[in-house]
Symmetry: C2
Subunit: 155 residues, 2 copies
DNA sequence: CTACAAGCTGAAGCGACTAGAGGTTCAAGG
DNA sequence: CCTTGAACCTCTAGTCGCTTCAGCTTGTAG
């Protein structure tokens, strides 16, 4: 297992981190939660990663950047490992996630508008303002999404 | 303190939850983290809330719906309690948060585009697809925000 | 009076890491 | 060969904003 020639082609965790842009601690965490398979070790018990690991971690990183949950990624990885029935499920996951993202965008846009309204009522000058922002927060009735479909989607 | 007449005007936690749309457990949590002051209690140690509590919790709920952190809300509440120098800080918090929200929107829009691209490469049909989604995730170079400013903003 | 809904506390769990303590190993310079 | 110090190791706890659970006690309607 610890063949000298093999070890030479393998990289330590710090190099893997640099290559992929994933922090060292996060890589160890991914191993712990079975996203990344345990790599080989040196005699001194240090991790040494090969090409496969680099690719798999890049996949994970990219999917995380796209906002996929670790659970979704676990499924996507399983699918990519067994190239028999992957397409349907992968497509379903992506489409569901796209729906999620659109939902979040809509919600954030509505928040943006309300925040603009609230922040603009008070320019932040020292005087003559008593204080519209706090009033706006206290008084829900001014609010555009009052009793609308937005509240609760966070939960 | 436990005057009979007073108690009659006070509501138990369940009613407060219903009125404000905040869950019972969450209300107790807010008390625990000092967002909501401890209310009066019945002889049997149950919480009874008055008008002030309802208002304060509505404030909190509204601010949370707008995505303010509990820390920001704590500050906003302090400001609203002491109406001397509130405006500047409240304005600063709101503007900072608005910046945050806009940043998130921009990021999500870019994710939306990429997800659209990825999902559209594979219509999800059973055959003839081997699987573009998984390839797209594996191959970062196709990605629009490749090495762009997006990665890492989650941290 | 009794049943049962609603309330109570305290602790643990969630997701996805991050940070720290305290120790070991690797590789380069002398 | 030896020393130094950066990089590595494990394990534990902390983050945020709740949620859930277990195992009780209290309030109220019939």
């Amino acid at each position: 297992m610890l063949d000298r020639k093999k070890l030479e082609r393998l990289v330590p965790i710090g190099a893997l981190a640099e290559q992929t842009g994933v922090r060292v601690e996060t890589i160890r965490y991914y191993e712990q939660v079975d996203l990344l398979p345990p790599p080989e070790r040196t005699e001194g018990n240090q991790r040494r990663y090969g090409r496969r690991h680099v690719e798999r971690l890049a996949f994970i990183k990219h999917a995380r950047d796209l906002g996929f949950s670790v659970e979704s990624i676990r499924t996507l990885l399983k699918l990519s490992d067994s190239p028999d029935l992957p397409c349907d499920q992968a497509h379903a996951i992506s489409v569901a996630h796209l729906g999620d993202v659109r939902h979040k965008i809509a919600r954030l846009r509505s928040l943006e508008k309300e925040l603009e309204r609230i922040a603009s009522t008070c320019s932040g000058g020292v005087s003559a303002c008593d204080c519209a922002i706090i009033e706006a927060l206290a008084d829900h009735t001014q609010c555009a999404h009052h009793e609308g479909g937005l509240a609760g989607s966070r939960r």
